[in-house]
């Protein structure tokens, strides 16, 4: 597919999904009401401005962050199965968040400990994985996978120790939930800054995908690029985790969906992935909060339920 057309279609899809998500909810609104509400007039001001808009913005940013992190990690690890959580960042964050929930600490403490856990995981993986220079990506990957496994065991332990009424909150965090987004402004800033930087660095990312020695032979300072990619991906993941817990599947699915549509050059892949990831999560979150309304479901369920058939269809079409 022509990348320009895909980009424009996705821009349109993003507007459509945001509009749809603002209109639908426990209290259905007409498009005109939403518009009035956004402008600060009419009866729906509170619903639109204080409830729906922050949540839609959080969903979009979260989807964009995760997709971009997926693109960068797949480029760094040259592994099509890499997703934002493969290097243990979400494991560290989960242990932090769940430990705070178990101790009954407030939301603020929970945010703090999950951020602390994520940063600790980032430093451990970077410290061990890059210890002998940038030569061995397997070491980095394996360190991340091992750390994730350890965090998984700790999460299981915390779930077992928790009171019955605490478990539900913990499961929501683990499955991804956008009802209490934190740091929305910071998340959008991170998304914008890294998207622009990554798009400008797209030529280098293309070269890096050709292999380490090839990239070096074509004039790329590979070690520095790998470290920068790792930290950029970690930063994106941390921002996404703060917004919505560990929402699975977006970071894996979205980059591949764009590639399967025939757009592989990073200068188009990156903006398209951000737009598709954002729209996709807005849509999934809309379903999560309206399908069993007033009951709200974890959005992670819908990213998988929507994403799996789409990706299977794209894979089948190719074959």
């Amino acid at each position: 597919m022509n990348p320009r057309w895909l980009f424009l279609s996705l821009l349109f899809a993003a507007a459509l999904s945001v509009g749809g998500a603002l209109v639908s909810g426990a209290l259905p609104l007409a498009l005109g009401d939403v518009w009035q509400g956004l402008l600060g007039q009419g009866e729906a001001v509170q619903v639109v401005r204080e409830l729906r808009l922050p949540r839609v913005l959080a969903a979009f940013a979260c989807g964009g962050l995760l997709s971009l992190a997926g693109v960068l990690l797949q480029s760094l690890l040259r592994n099509p199965l890499a997703d934002p959580y493969i290097l243990g960042v979400s494991g560290g964050a989960a242990v932090g968040a769940l430990a705070a929930m178990l101790l009954g600490a407030g939301l603020l403490a929970e945010q703090g400990t999950s951020l602390g856990g994520a940063l600790l995981a980032i430093l451990v993986v970077f410290g061990l994985g890059f210890r002998h220079g940038e030569r061995n990506l397997y070491r980095l990957l394996l360190t991340g996978v091992v750390l994730s496994a350890g965090c998984g065991a700790l999460v299981s332990l915390l779930l077992t120790l928790a009171q019955a009424e605490q478990v539900k909150g913990m499961l929501f965090w683990l499955m991804g939930d956008l009802s209490q987004p934190q740091g929305l402004g910071a998340a959008w800033l991170v998304l914008f800054a890294v998207s622009v930087a990554a798009t400008l660095a797209a030529g280098g990312l293309d070269v890096l995908a050709g292999g380490r020695d090839k990239a070096a032979a074509l004039g790329l300072a590979v070690g520095r690029w790998q470290a920068a990619l790792y930290f950029a991906a970690a930063l994106l993941t941390v921002a996404a985790l703060q917004l919505g817990g560990s929402i699975g599947f977006v970071g894996l699915l979205v980059p591949h969906a764009i590639r399967l549509l025939g757009v592989t050059a990073h200068r188009w892949l990156i903006p398209c992935a951000v737009l598709l990831g954002g729209s996709f999560l807005v849509l999934a979150d809309m379903l999560a909060r309206t399908l069993w309304s007033p009951l709200q479901l974890p959005v992670g369920i819908f990213t998988a339920l929507l994403g799996v058939p789409v990706l299977l269809w794209l894979l089948g079409r190719r074959a």
Partner: protein
């Protein structure tokens, strides 16, 4: 621009590839590197390309030591064809060949029309124009090899290092690639080869890497003898002449 190895000592995994080796590939020369499997030919080539650190000595490209050159400056002067790239490139053949222009790229975003034209010429030279829009990972081994060579041509470097440029190529394309490489003007070329026929036809100088870490350099006419080659490959060879051209066949 010449490529020079100065007192180079290289080892890998405890095995010495070469000791105190010095030679210079002048512009217009074509050097062949011969040796057994595992003799360290690729390691030596990677060292010359600045992708592997020598134990001692240095490599010079023009007047500067390559270890002191910024990667991008080096890539504008020196191009490498690797035997095994180990990458996962998702794009088309054309995108792949265009990467050869990366060291020369001036635009912040994308490539200039001039870069695209150079990539098109390289594609045409390797008879890949019809495959330009195909995903690279759908190509056959030989087609992929030609795409790698096209990328190297697009780089337009003054010094070329090629690790088994003929691998996977059929006879016609072997001849085509060798003709193209020897037709390049004022380039310093060094290539790892296994086919003695091409070494004889196209290389004016040879570097023989013996299994014990000894190396011999010199004009091809002097080094391409049955005695040297039997020591080099540690097997008996038979020398025959076909229409005035010497051929070496493995003996029994």
């Amino acid at each position: 621009m010449r490529l020079e190895a100065c007192n180079l000592t290289v080892s890998i995994g405890g095995k010495t590839v070469c000791r105190d080796l010095s030679f210079a590939v002048q512009p217009g020369q074509c050097w062949g590197v011969l040796g057994q499997n595992g003799a360290g030919k690729s390691t030596l080539l990677r060292t010359l390309a600045g992708l592997y650190a020598p134990d001692a000595g240095e490599v010079r490209c023009g007047e500067a030591a390559i270890s002191a050159m910024p990667r991008r400056d080096l890539a504008q002067q020196l191009g490498v064809l690797l035997q095994n790239e180990g990458g996962e490139f998702w794009g088309t053949v054309q995108d792949y060949v265009l990467l050869g222009r990366f060291p020369h790229r001036r635009a912040l975003f994308g490539y200039s029309a001039e870069d695209e034209a150079i990539a098109q010429q390289a594609l045409a030279a390797m008879e890949l124009t019809a495959l330009a829009q195909r995903p690279l990972n759908q190509l056959s081994g030989g087609e992929r090899q030609r795409a790698s060579i096209a990328q190297l041509l697009a780089q337009q470097a003054h010094c070329l290092l090629l690790d088994e440029p003929l691998q996977h190529l059929d006879l016609r394309h072997q001849a085509q690639v060798m003709k193209l490489l020897s037709g390049l003007q004022e380039r310093a070329v060094l290539m790892v080869l296994h086919d003695l026929l091409w070494a004889q036809r196209n290389c004016d100088h040879l570097l023989l890497l013996f299994p014990d870490g000894r190396a011999l350099t010199g004009p091809a006419a002097e080094l391409l003898t049955r005695e040297h080659l039997e020591t080099l490959y540690q097997c008996r060879l038979r020398e025959v002449a076909v229409e005035g051209e010497r051929c070496f066949l493995p003996g029994v």
